[in-house]
């Protein structure tokens, strides 16, 4: 902050005669004001599309068809009534698909991952480091490159366009990240607790269930949120593996062509439903999520 050279001497010339307190304090105040302005602008750009979508879902029709943006209006729930009404089967059906598929794949992948993570973090069987790199490399496979094989395998197994197909795919895609995250959390837990439990007669698995699992709460929460959100948000896999009956909310929303006379009010409401769980989880678990992001990406 405290610069030297010509800029400073010029500033000293300019500020000569102003009795506004010490030079340094004023310059820091100016820098801080500019920085906060820039940060506010970036925060506004980050939030605005999300807020605008949510607002669009509760805007009355006159506000949607206005030629200039409308910021003040009496909110209405008509779009929600319209998309959730019994006559419109699809939206509720897709919503149910999304909920069931996301919950099931999250639950299975967390169970599989927490055992694997415990093995990597504590039991450390021979070659565990190599195994953990294999897990990491699985995470780095691009799912979009797997859609053609997935399509054929699902057809071959007779599960094309079923929820089961998506549950299996998302579970497998989620296990690497969840294992990696949980391993990071478990390594940080004090080893003494577990050793004490084992001295008291617990087996490895007993110590795991009684001591480790209760302490791994935040890690489990972060891993579950990431797993749920991946399944809930995905477009590519659902679009190719379950395009019709078993399809999810994002696929349905991506098919609504807004420029073909579809009312933006309904689409705003649908998109709000898609964003709702992610927004909710972010508020509930932001601290663990940031920690999870950092450990999932950085920690070796």
């Amino acid at each position: 902050m405290y610069r030297s050279g010509p800029a400073r001497s010029i500033w000293r010339q300019v500020s000569k005669g102003f009795k506004l307190g010490p030079l340094r304090t004023r310059r820091i105040a100016l820098g801080k004001t500019l920085a906060l302005l820039a940060l506010s602008l970036i925060a506004l750009i980050s939030l605005f599309p999300i807020l605008w979508l949510i607002l669009t879902g509760v805007k009355p029709t006159w506000a949607l068809t206005s030629k200039t943006p409308v910021f003040f209006f009496v909110p209405t729930l008509e779009h929600y009534q319209s998309i959730l009404s019994p006559s419109r089967r699809p939206v509720t059906a897709y919503f149910l698909n999304s909920v069931l598929i996301s919950i099931a794949s999250t639950a299975v992948s967390i169970v599989v991952s927490v055992f694997g993570a415990y093995a990597l973090a504590r039991l450390r069987p021979k070659g565990y480091r190599q195994l953990s790199y294999v897990i990491l490399s699985m995470r780095l496979l691009p799912p979009i490159a797997l859609i053609v094989p997935f399509y054929f395998i699902a057809n071959w197994l007779g599960i094309f366009d079923t929820r089961l197909a998506l549950i299996i795919a998302y579970t497998a895609l989620n296990v690497p990240l969840a294992t990696w995250l949980l391993q990071g959390f478990l390594v940080d837990l004090p080893r003494e607790l577990e050793e004490a439990a084992m001295v008291d007669g617990c087996t490895h698995m007993g110590a795991f269930f009684r001591v480790i699992l209760p302490l791994a709460g935040p890690g489990l929460a972060a891993a579950s949120v990431f797993a749920f959100v991946l399944a809930w948000n995905d477009l590519a896999i659902a679009l190719s593996l379950a395009p019709f009956e078993a399809t999810t909310m994002p696929v349905m929303a991506s098919r609504v062509r807004s420029d073909q006379g579809i009312r933006w009010g309904d689409l705003g409401a649908i998109t709000t439903l898609i964003m709702a769980p992610a927004i909710l989880f972010t508020f509930l678990a932001s601290r663990w999520l940031v920690k999870g992001l950092a450990s999932g990406a950085v920690k070796g």
Binding site: Y2, R3, S4, A35, L39, I42, A43, S46, P49, I50, L53, T56, K67, T68, P69, V112, F115, G116, L120, L123, P125, R129, L131, V134, M138, L140, L141, P142, I144, A145, L146, I147, V148, I153, A172, T179, T203, H204, M205, N233, L235, A236, L239, P250, A253, S254, S258, T271, I274, A278, I279, T282, S286, R287, V290, L293, A294, A297, V298, G300
Partner: protein, 310 residues
């Protein structure tokens, strides 16, 4: 293991030592058992399909058409000679370099400012977490709402500054628009990770630098940057890998159009497979994407194992 098992183990030790699995220590054995479900999933659901791509890439195979026929390297030759596919690859590289570059520049500056001025305000993190947590489809629809149409919000906004309305997803601007949306959604990842790394930089060191007369730029360049370099590398590799596989937002915004102007590798794989039904070419493009991604993964893993050693 269960305490009662230890006596059983002694009695059956001789018989068991013939089977390699039982010659490993109990802890190791339990470890492998616990890891087995994860590795079964990887093998069946991730690894086999990846190998299937290699098989597909050597076949002439039309979806809903005749049985696949082996054609050797024909599909690869086609991809590397047809301007359409070369354009896709070139466009993907442009997309990746520009989005990752912008994400990093903006993210790094924002993280520095946050670290300096809003260090104690953790709730700011929520604002930056939101775009990256919502679905790419939702993000794309949000921007569609703001971009599309003569009376769209953005056209109103540029109108305030005296510009005429633009067709933001039209032939001229579509590629820039998808880059913008990608940068919008994923810069927060850079912000959060670099911010987390900056929190670990000792304030004394920075103060010491300043006492020695280093300016802001010199402090960042010579003191802060070397300290957070591992995080920077990880962020760059992750963003590169994820930009390579971009699909959801672009598909929702433009379907790869107009006239393929926003067709990147991910979009082209889907189009070849499920729109044009040319599975052979889809296979080649999938292999290419996996290889590009794999090169970066290998760099990343080598980097991690070096870090773990030091």
């Amino acid at each position: 293991m269960d305490p009662s098992l230890s006596t059983t183990r002694q009695t059956t030790e001789n018989a068991r030592s013939f089977i390699p699995f039982f010659r490993i220590s109990t802890t190791d054995r339990l470890g492998y058992l616990l890891l087995a479900p994860a590795f079964l999933l990887f093998f069946g659901v991730l690894l086999l399909p990846s190998l299937f791509n290699i098989y597909t890439s050597f076949q002439e195979w039309v979806l809903f058409g005749d049985a696949p026929r082996f054609v050797g390297w024909d599909n690869y030759l086609e991809v590397f000679s047809d301007p359409r596919y070369l354009a896709t690859i070139w466009r993907t590289l442009q997309f990746v370099v520009v989005t990752v570059g912008l994400q990093f520049l903006i993210g790094f500056v924002v993280a520095l400012l946050l670290d300096r001025y809003l260090n104690e305000l953790r709730s700011v993190q929520i604002i930056f977490l939101l775009p990256m947590m919502i679905s790419e489809v939702a993000a794309a629809l949000g921007w569609r709402l703001l971009l599309v149409g003569q009376y769209s919000f953005l056209n109103w906004l540029v109108g305030l500054f005296g510009f005429s309305p633009q067709v933001w997803l039209g032939p001229q601007l579509a590629f820039l628009s998808i880059i913008f949306v990608e940068v919008w959604q994923h810069t927060p990842f850079v912000i959060l990770l670099i911010f987390a790394a900056l929190q670990g930089v000792s304030k004394e060191l920075v103060e010491a630098g300043k006492l020695d007369g280093a300016g802001t730029w010199a402090t960042v360049r010579h003191i802060v940057f070397p300290l957070i370099q591992p995080a920077v590398l990880v962020v760059l590799m992750f963003r590169t890998m994820f930009a390579l596989r971009a699909f959801g937002a672009i598909w929702t915004l433009t379907h790869g159009g107009p006239a393929n102007r926003t067709t990147v590798l991910g979009i082209d794989i889907y189009q070849q497979a499920f729109v044009i039904f040319d599975l052979g070419v889809a296979g080649v493009l999938s292999v290419l994407l996996t290889v590009f991604s794999g090169i970066i993964s290998i760099l990343y893993i080598r980097f991690l194992s070096r870090e773990a050693l030091s």
